[in-house]
């Protein structure tokens, strides 16, 4: 029954989107993190989604989390000699998180999550009605 595949597909998408939401939360939490070297500075994490063929006939396509990559954008440098974490030159290094990007990511992830819950609900209703067929 192909309607049963919908549970796998929507479920994989929901877990991928919730992971994306999680990563966004980490990024926003660490937006103001300071480090004493550019290497230690927090870099924004981004999830990589991949379409994953599922089912016997390989026609339904779930979402697979291929991995998490770090943003290559330059980290922020600030001259603050009084800061306890300042290096020899008096510089501190802030994260490269872009708050606006993260907000947009958050909204997109929550919308996609909602879409998939709706698919799940509709599929469940259809299956329940199919089970009651002929009563």
């Amino acid at each position: 029954m192909s309607l049963l595949n919908n549970f796998d597909v929507a479920g994989s998408a929901m877990s991928a989107q919730s992971l994306r939401l999680n990563i966004t939360a980490s990024n926003m939490a660490n937006a103001d993190t300071i480090a004493s070297t550019p290497e230690d500075a927090y870099r924004a994490r981004e999830p990589v989604f991949l379409a994953l063929l599922q089912g016997q006939r390989r026609e339904t396509v779930g979402v697979h989390m291929a991995g998490v990559v770090q943003s290559q954008a330059p980290v922020g440098v600030r001259h603050a000699p009084g800061h306890p974490l300042a290096d020899d030159e008096g510089n501190i290094y802030s994260s490269n998180v872009n708050i606006v990007e993260e907000m947009v990511n958050m909204m997109s992830a929550s919308r996609s999550f909602q879409n998939n819950t709706e698919v799940l609900n509709t599929s469940k209703q259809l299956l329940q009605r199919t089970l009651r067929l002929g009563e």
Partner: protein, 137 residues
Amino acid sequence: MKLAIDQALSLHDDALRLRAQRASVLASNIANADTPNYKARDIDFSAALRRAAGGQPVAAAGAVRLARTDGAHISGGAPSGDAELLYRNPLQPSLDGNTVDPHVEHVEFSENALRYQASLKFLGDRFRGLRNAIKGE
């Protein structure tokens, strides 16, 4: 009088099966709304139903078939029963190669679900009719 159950159900069982298949294809599209390089897919429902009505293997249409030069050769080609998967023509594809338009998919999914329920109702009515005929009340 002969009564074949398949005939009594007419096309509604085929329609129901194709609607279920389409629902899972559309669910895949909605699930992959944010996946780079994913291409939205769909099936041609009316063509598939027409083929099912004609009793032909549903996957035929544009599919490439293997030549059979011996009676022992297997038929090859796509397994019958399900409709052929096509790609949607994107109106505004994204820069990352994704061609899913979430709103279009949402509308199509809702409509498909409604039509699935309609087929279900027709099928239920057929069963009720058959049962009444058997009881003879």
